[in-house]
Symmetry: C2
Subunit: 407 residues, 2 copies
């Protein structure tokens, strides 16, 4: 579309009141927390395809020193952090000669506050994303949030801080990115409800008898999305959708009864918003995390890509069904935890992290994961308005309780 044709567009763009200002394409400086994970790797792919828009400022990794070194040689960040201190010297030896600063362990929480960073992409897995996100928000950095557990655990705290600091949180989860895209130009219009779509995972339509015996490798085969191990298991148990429901309540300021989960096995519609007039907007496309990652970093501008396009004329059909909450109890448990509020979503998350890890180590069966979560929710003391320290205690206590239940 040329500038000329844009100027014809219903003439709306001539009305300055309604026009969103296009941000000049100055480079955005990105910090990627968790650069060697699935989201981190895809973010770097996106960045390397659009070097005119992005500059990598910081990379952090857990223990994959080799990949972190490789990435750093390519993207030349200012600073890297390798969490595993046993790998520190190796990374130091490789990158120090290139004038890249190297830190270890506790440094992730500090490097996110660097002046030169515009956006922090938090792609850490689970609870570990919480502290660096808090620090980044305190330092006034906009957040591209791929770590949904941060909002699940401490949504009230995070959103309160973000409001105080005037920081934007751009969702990276494909569902929340879809909602966010549908809300562009409509921030002033009341939301009636949102519809979070769920693929249903690899075991959609199965019963509990079947689920009792599914293996780790069966659970790791997601029909549509290519993701990390933790989130793939969460997708198979529908806990991922439960975490997304809780994330959405915070991100979009919604009541639980404004969120509907619909199973949509094709994963073409990534989620929908229904406004107060009854109109529904959906964001759609082939399942590819690179698109929401890119958009979280380029908002409000869309950067042209060569990602494969959806061909509607050859897209046979889109189907929808209700989720089976009796078979996939994790989703029901997430609704319950969100309803209770306080520290209960934190309990849900910690118990689930332990359970998934034990399932991945083949220590418990598929259905036992929900048992662990349910028991923890009933045993850990309720705190209505937790402070940061309460979350830390709740997380710790829950993990101990979950391990007790399993052993």
């Amino acid at each position: 579309m040329t500038a000329r044709s844009l100027s014809f567009c219903c003439h709306i763009n001539r009305q300055r009141t309604f026009k969103e200002k296009q941000i000049a394409h100055s480079k955005k400086h990105i910090a990627i927390l968790g650069s060697t994970g699935s989201i981190g790797i895809q973010a770097l792919e996106v960045i390397s395809a659009h070097p005119e828009y992005f500059e990598v400022e910081v990379l952090t990794a857990g223990s994959n020193a080799d990949l972190l070194i490789e990435q750093s040689k390519l993207f030349k960040p200012n600073t890297v952090v390798i969490k595993d201190s046993s790998q520190y010297q190796k990374v130091m030896d490789a990158l120090d000669p290139m004038d890249i600063k190297v830190y270890t362990d506790g440094a992730v929480g500090d490097v996110v506050t660097m002046d030169s960073i515009d956006i922090v992409l938090t792609a850490l897995v689970g609870y570990s994303g919480l502290l660096p996100t808090i620090n980044a928000i305190k330092a006034g950095k906009n957040i591209a949030l791929a770590n949904k557990e941060t909002l699940v655990v401490a949504g009230q705290l995070i959103m309160g801080l973000a409001e105080e600091k005037g920081v934007n949180i751009y969702p990276v989860d494909s569902e929340h990115s879809a909602i966010f895209q549908c809300l562009m130009g409509e921030w002033h219009n009341p939301i009636e409800k949102i519809v979070l779509t769920a693929s249903g995972g690899p075991f959609r339509g199965q019963n509990r008898e079947f689920l009792k015996f599914v293996t780790k490798s069966e659970a790791l085969k997601h029909p549509n999305w290519d993701m990390g191990a933790k989130i793939t298991i969460d997708s198979a148990t529908l806990m991922n959708k439960g975490l997304e429901v809780i994330e959405a309540t915070w991100l979009f300021g919604l009541r639980l009864d404004q969120i509907e989960v619909v199973v949509h096995p094709q994963s073409i519609i990534h989620s929908m918003v229904q406004f107060a007039d009854g109109s529904i907007k959906a964001q759609m496309g082939l399942p590819d995390m690179k698109l929401p990652i890119l958009f979280a970093m380029s908002y409000p501008n869309r950067i042209p890509t060569k990602f494969p396009r959806l061909d509607f004329a050859n897209c046979a059909q889109l189907t929808f069904e209700k989720p089976d909450l009796k078979t996939f109890r994790n989703l029901a448990l997430a609704f319950e935890a969100s309803e209770k509020g306080g520290n209960m979503p934190c309990v849900l998350n910690a118990a689930n992290e332990v359970a998934v890890s034990k399932f991945l180590h083949e220590r418990i069966g598929f259905l036992e994961m929900s048992d662990v979560v349910e028991t923890c929710l009933s045993k850990i003391p309720y705190i209505q308005t937790p402070c940061y320290q309460d979350y830390v205690e709740t997380d710790k206590e829950t993990r101990i309780k979950a391990l007790e239940i399993i052993n």
Copy 2:
């Protein structure tokens, strides 16, 4: 959603740069051209459900004096026009005592310029919408455009005028309203293509042998939408979709190759936009013209309604297929006319208006409608850059030619 929860919404609404200003809910003063037709009647239903937002300023009708009088007693407009001068006295007798000004015939082109009007809803059928729309734009009135023929016939002229006068054109057609809604907050982002969905009409999947013998009453049964006779026949021949393609090129400043037509028999997805990053946005809902009518009058605000909601969990499936251009030749002819440009879309429209009218009078068969259009497109002299008078001449000449062919 409460004001408080809105303030949490990704914190985006705190960024004044990206925030669309909510228009204060001062009443909008509406002129409805064609108030006794299908769109006009539905517009008045919408207005009567939301008297706090809208005030009826002008109503115009063709010959249905009784309904115009009834509507006027209810909505108390400032001015009415009854085009059929034989009905003038009747309307005058009924409304003059109520202090409502009554005009006839040529007055439609004048009343649209009244100072008190904010938005002109042009719900006239066919070519007759052109002149009043031009006058309204010249008077600086925003247009809620339900008369697609206006843009088909004279898109270049209309959009040029609208740009000159800084006038907004809000589409009422459900497809164009869908595109428009998807573009909110994205006026600055390049469109890769739009996908106009088509129900396929009552004869989807049929062959030409079958179509040869379909009757007027069969063609008037649209599977999803409740509309006027002309547009219902146009939907059965797919000419409606062809006219919409041409309308979309002008409304959204698109090249013809940026517009794809996909048959979607359920009419749930009302149309889609694909942006340059590959992301697709769709607007969806139950087929109900009242929603796009309301939105064209309330933009950029959404007014809460009690329209029936779509239930996704019980929405069995959405399907898509390519349109059959060999059987439904009108769509191919519309693409051809748009490709040629100049006065050819005007020829297409005039020939089609005559053909549909003759089909509705059972003077020609279903397939002959395309024959009339095709012959006119090849016989009427081409004008590359028509002025207003050229459109008038082309329209007149084409109607004569079409009648010649039929008789």
